[in-house]
Amino acid sequence: MDEPRKSASEAGLALLAALLTTALVATLVWTLSVQNLTQWRLLQGVEARLYSMVLAQNGIEFARGLLPLVDVDELLSGPDGSFSGTDLPEWRNPLPFSSARRLDPESWTPDRDDGLPARSRDQLLPNGYPDPGGGRFYLRFSNNPEEPAHQDRDGVVLVRSMGVAPLKLRSPFLASTRNSVTLIESRLLQETAFRLRSALTLAGGSGDFQWTGTQFLLDGGHREPAVRFLSLGGDGLQNDFLHTLDPAHADRIRGAGPEPSLLDSTVAYREDPRYRSLFQAAFWRHFQEQLPNLSSASGIVHLPEGGLLPAAASGVLVARGDLVLQGDVQFRGILLHLGGGGVTLRDRAQIVGGLWLSNLSVDGETIRGGPLRLHLSDLARVRYDADAIRSGLRNFPPTQLGWRLLFPEMKL
């Protein structure tokens, strides 16, 4: 009877040892797994957070590129043309924060189209911008709080970009956090100071104008004058212009109003928020300082020494010194001549859009106006064209006035 008892005892001990070993190994494996899982989840969280931030920033860049191409009022109302109001919570956000955290991008559709990226009444990102990495960004434009929500006058808009990055490791215990979400707001200004509203805009205090022949043409079309005057650094500009005209030239300067079609817009522009900056020294100082850095990158042609425009061009041309357009050359868009010489148009040279002439120097907070010089001869023409000016304005990058991260705890 001893043998079986001894065998059973040994077997029990072996089983206990096996169980203990198994428990030890299982505990070890479980501990390591939990540790690794926790670390992985933390890392995933950090990675998703950064990814969502990068996505949101890319959304701001998208908005920055889009803004010059669109009509802001149309953008604010959305493709349906009606503004839905500001009663909804988080109405400036592309979507509410809490929804974004649980969002399934495939099934989401926006509840209203106000401020969503659109062009010519077509939505550009109906379901956000899908990134190859699996995340998306969503955008919504809204007007700055200083103005009515549906109507823009000052060119300043807010854009909020929401980056949504899916968390790759999800847990049934954390069902509400499907995505990592970052919301960025940028305040952008689309500068409109050079939205010219005449064939020729003269800004200065005096001028020297030459008209050769009776075939040249300054044409403002039916709605706008041929020539607008802005008195800057002196008030003899309009008189200088009128003294050079003889009666035979009157019908060569045509547009809205009686011929010659001329309008002094100094007071109106000074009070208009879109043009007020033209009378500020800081505007001109900054613009002239930054122009060389930004001209090539933004598609603006800069000719600091002037010269002969060799071929047809379009967009925005900023020149100083003596600039000559001759032969059949045509420029379409906005031509800004900032002094240091004059502009000459001869033969059949033509500007379609608008021509701006100024010769300003800034001394502290004072703007001083030098004499302007313009010579038109033969069949040279300057013809106002709103579409060409609008196309030219698209080359001006928006000015970023502010940038901030938004959190759900803030008033959104």
Binding site: H286, S298, P397, L401, R404
Partner: protein, 201 residues
Amino acid sequence: MSPIDSLAGSRGVEAKEGERGFSLVESLLATAASALLFSLFLGVFDQVQTTVTNLTRLMERDRNLILAPVLLGGWILGTGNREWDRDGDGILIQSGILQLESDLDGKDGFPDGRVEGNFEILSLRCRTDHLQLKSGAGSFHSVLKQIRQWEILMEGRLLNLRLTGAVSPNLMHWKGDGETVETIHYTLRNYRPNLFPPRDG
């Protein structure tokens, strides 16, 4: 029957065939062989342990260097970029400390933000092989280990950080110091030059 056999027999124990005990020599040989094997095993184990420890330290160093851009990106891009109608860059570099200021205008900057003062000032520095972070007027605490030193350089809108990751404590039985360098570039997007200034009034 020999005396030994008779002694064994007297205790009623008989050695069966194949159950004979080890002789003294055999036992000594076995002990010596075991000691040799054990010492060999200890040597190999020590080598393996050293290698594993070194690898772990190197992997930890590399993991910290991989994690550093992610963490720094979050802090730098998220806090230093909040600017409102001013030319200041919101970044201060002094004595190896990188200070990032946010929301410089407080509640006047974004009236709907419920921000009563400067939202956040973060300071980063490298001390005793640790990257340390300080929020506001608080004190520095370590956020990343094994960062021996960092160099900060601003080039226009580009913030360049050069991190030197090091193994700490040093690698075992290894002459090198285990240093490796990671260079990170952050474009401070908000501080871009603008063709037009913000409007006055």
